[in-house]
Assembly symmetry: C2
Homo-oligomer: 223 residues x 2
């Protein structure tokens, strides 16, 4: 067991080195980079589609989509007019910094304002790997249940922002937004939760505003 832990630590520290190099590169390019984490089917790709629809004319958006298999997510995002490239992990349960570095070679960083890294649908493993992003956005959808923060604390500890998606389904479930937010704040008292329904395009304004502010800040930041 000790040996396994040591190996894991080595892999993580190597990952942290690559992530730090990526972070430097993104700072030089004044490119805002967001890491999207969630369970399968929480709505990461739909969030991206609606964000591209709303902001694609004023911001240059690009996506790196991670999936075990299939190019489906990248295709969906491309249809909305954003630049997208896929990482097929071939079974690996998370993206790491090296995979992102390889995918970056297929993108022109000088021509973009925001890069979304859509991680593999998995609320556990991706939380352990830094990919050089500025902010980690954790999505949870209403049907997953309001008990998820307590059960998956690692993802919430890593989060800089929480998106609570599919609030249009609240009437058909026993989900309590109040219980959810109380649970979130037990882990991170300062964490913002944006409630929305991406498919219904409801409640997304705060997210758009947050994104525009962060882009402006990154563009204006001293190098």
């Amino acid at each position: 067991m000790t040996k396994e832990i040591k190996i894991e630590k080595n892999i993580l520290s190597k990952n942290d080195q690559v992530a730090a190099e990526l972070r430097e590169l993104f700072a030089r390019k004044r490119l805002l980079v967001l890491n999207l984490l969630s369970s399968p089917g929480s709505g990461k790709t739909t969030l991206l589609e609606k964000t591209i629809e709303a902001l694609g004319s004023s911001l240059r958006l690009a996506v790196i989509a991670g999936d075990l298999q299939t190019e489906r997510d990248a295709e969906r995002v491309r249809k909305m007019g954003a630049t997208a490239t896929q990482i097929e992990t071939g079974g690996a349960c998370h993206l790491d910094a090296r995979m992102v570095a390889v995918a970056l070679q297929r993108l022109e960083l000088d021509n973009m304002d925001v890069l979304f890294i859509e991680n593999v649908g998995n609320l556990v493993c991706p939380a352990a790997f830094d990919v050089g992003d500025d902010f980690t956005v954790v999505l949870i959808s209403v049907p997953e249940g309001d008990d998820k923060p307590g059960k998956y604390p690692t993802a919430f500890r890593k989060a800089d922002l929480v998106v609570l998606n599919k609030i249009d389904l609240v009437p058909y479930t026993n989900f309590s937004a109040q219980r959810f937010k109380t649970d979130v704040r037990k882990i991170r008292p300062d964490l913002d939760v944006f409630e929305m329904s991406c498919t219904k395009k409801e409640g997304m304004e705060a997210w758009f505003q947050w994104l525009k502010t962060k882009v402006a800040h990154k563009k204006g930041s001293a190098q």
Copy 2:
């Protein structure tokens, strides 16, 4: 990379040895063991609650519940009258055979007919680890989307049965059961899909019948 792969193979082959020992033990005890795999919030614990409610008087049911943190799942199951023990993985993304072997020491195997191993909510990593079970049951819930089989093929390749849960939410989503089943059968043409709503207790009869048949078969099986 080659070194990492070799290490992973070693860990897996050690796990397979322990899993084989568990399988022998379960055969000796004529105990039916099911491994439940799903994303967070697909309804594994609710499936167990309703199964205990329906079959708890005729079958002796026990649960090993895996979670990163909290005893919530085991508590919910105990309230329904089943024996339950929790494995808090402390961050690990899956259960392995050794963790199950340790948890078994807290259970009396002679006094049970079915042992459910409720894996960590994660559709990726648990699919790689044999825990000595007779059958792997993969749960998917309607709000996760009908595209999940193609995106998470490993779990479906491992599955012996698929439970499609939360069918009461179909009217409020763009989920197509037909597309879902077509997607499943591209991976495994022979795989049964039981459609149900555990919270509404709808469509669970086929699952109960399946379970009773498998218990009878295990009890009657030659050693």
